[in-house]
Symmetry: C2
Amino acid sequence: MKGNVLVGQSGGPTAVINSSLAGVFKAATELGYGKVYGMRHGIQGFLQGKYVDMAEQIRNDLDLELLKHTPSAFLGSCRYKLPEIDQDNAIFDRIFALLDELNIEVCIYIGGNDSMDTIRKLYDYGQKIGSTRKFVGCPKTIDNDLAITDHTPGFGSAAKYIATSTKEIICDAVAFANKKNVNIVEIMGRNAGWLTGAAALSKGDDCVGPDLIYLPELPFSIEGFVDEVKKLLETKDVVTAMVSEGIKTAEGKYVCEYASSSKTTDAFGHLQMSGTAAYLASVVQGQLGCKTRAIEFSTLQRAASHMASKVDVDEAFNAGSATVRAADKGISGVMVLIKRVNDNPYQSGNDVYDVHNIANAEKVVPRDWINEKGNGVTEQFINYVRPLIQGYDVPVMVNGVPRHLVLKEK
Amino acid sequence: MKGNVLVGQSGGPTAVINSSLAGVFKAATELGYGKVYGMRHGIQGFLQGKYVDMAEQIRNDLDLELLKHTPSAFLGSCRYKLPEIDQDNAIFDRIFALLDELNIEVCIYIGGNDSMDTIRKLYDYGQKIGSTRKFVGCPKTIDNDLAITDHTPGFGSAAKYIATSTKEIICDAVAFANKKNVNIVEIMGRNAGWLTGAAALSKGDDCVGPDLIYLPELPFSIEGFVDEVKKLLETKDVVTAMVSEGIKTAEGKYVCEYASSSKTTDAFGHLQMSGTAAYLASVVQGQLGCKTRAIEFSTLQRAASHMASKVDVDEAFNAGSATVRAADKGISGVMVLIKRVNDNPYQSGNDVYDVHNIANAEKVVPRDWINEKGNGVTEQFINYVRPLIQGYDVPVMVNGVPRHLVLKEK
């Protein structure tokens, strides 16, 4: 008889991370595992003995469907860094004691780089103590910066939201095109510009798209930026610039650091970013004297499940399912990948890859997918992203707003 | 034989202002008027002789449908204040000469308070010179601050977007509920808190809704706000506060003025607002030391046609249609109203009202629709708004993003 499955969610939420959770639950049930337990707030909450029985949360197919369309981490998330396995046995002993207690055969962690770091350590510790349980990572991040996998669940929906919202913002700005105005839009992405570049997908027969796109992959010149805006304003009235929150000047200083000195960092030492667009808007307004507006998509870009991509929802579900199926075949210490099987028509499948070669690596936008001037993306970039934002899952609307599934505490 | 119709759009765009434009075009065509001309950038562009022939823009029913779902002002907008009719004849003479030249029998202006001021002056000037042409206003504003009408087209869709996005933001924040965090969300509305209050519609079985809602109708205490947040953080980890961009302290100073000294004003003397949430977030972070995040819905709240309310799209279309039908009956100097015919089930109809009693008046949230402490809205408020966010018009999606109709310049 098979044991139980444990699943956790970690890092920044996405619009489809719960679709992966639904996939884990469905596959575990279908493959005849016992209970499926969900860690509350990832490994951090689990260490405090906090978990739920997923069967009490997902009671029927409607619940499962609602879960697939609920944004953010249903189980709660955390940003918690495990020590190296030779540094602190006590934490690992505690975790493995809990795994024993709950008769966990398969442990799934849905997350990004930092979460794969957690899977790597748990797997390595398991090997060290001779445990046979399986540890499998499920990719998740709006940032699309995980190595090896073609792309990550969560990216497509965030990209679709960004392309749609950028289109609406440009449409709005053009209404006042008889007055010079500059919109500067800030998009998430510390070191990888995938999401910022996705704003280019707003361009089409009915939209001119952004004029300038700055990714964190290249050094950013504040002076050069103002010059570009000035030049554009000579021939057009509305200028739209997209900037990644992570853009840095050649000196290696984040642009957002020019804006404020009171920045804080999280458990992984990442700077909490915000204010890049606001700072640049104030510089442009000061130097060029035109009307400017700074717009931040903020947490909406990762939580807007109402604009989720159908491709993304499905791929997230399949990736979740694939983690349990891999473990069921005896595979451990891996992350599930999405493989692009075909470009046109777009087709994808799953595979697995050694998590040691994924954890803490970052996939950034290749230089030749950014235009020569460093202020836009190429057709190759657009062709890569376009299939991932396809398909539209109409939200389940109740009382005028989308319906979500929420965790029932005992 | 009937003459021609002229239509313009003015003021801040909305998600459904083009649905009203579609209604004007459809009714004018059905009622046998000649051409329908559209002012480019409202009365300001028209004064420069800029207009288009709408039949060249809307060539078939698909164009009409796309127009109904295109955000922002299709014809371009303006913020332009006409002089009083006894101050400057030259401008009015120029406008009326153009109306003669184009054989305009009916002139429609779609807009808010300031636009109704324009209709009032054009009508009064017409009366003064003995013109028989009709001037009719079509209500439009996300702010819902127009007098007499039950509500305004544009409000319902903005309210639906705000309720939906607030729900998603709260869902996102709760994922990290093991860490104290405060989200402060800034919503449009200078003097009327209708939109800010609409965030309360996020509350339901699956969402706790915002904890605090501050409307501009009541004086705002920065100190009192920090105290409320502090008190809430004693019993819960995630606090969500909605603030109107127009909140002022008891001394009459806008909170956003504390944030920055470089504020500009528009043609009507309105302060360009922004930064209220950012300022309050910095105060809370400074005084309480918890993680805070400032979120502005910015122009998205007025441009997000992808989350338009079906009720709103239809009412906007009907209001546009009703302007031409009123003029066709010989009525002039009026604004079309929306009348709530029945509450449950919700039913509405149109009527007209003397524009002199509407222009420059502002409808704010009644005191008894705000809770006693002044930090939330009542059931009455929610019951009033709920029907207006109903129904969901699935966007026409092309290449993964919603399709819009854009103006073809010659």
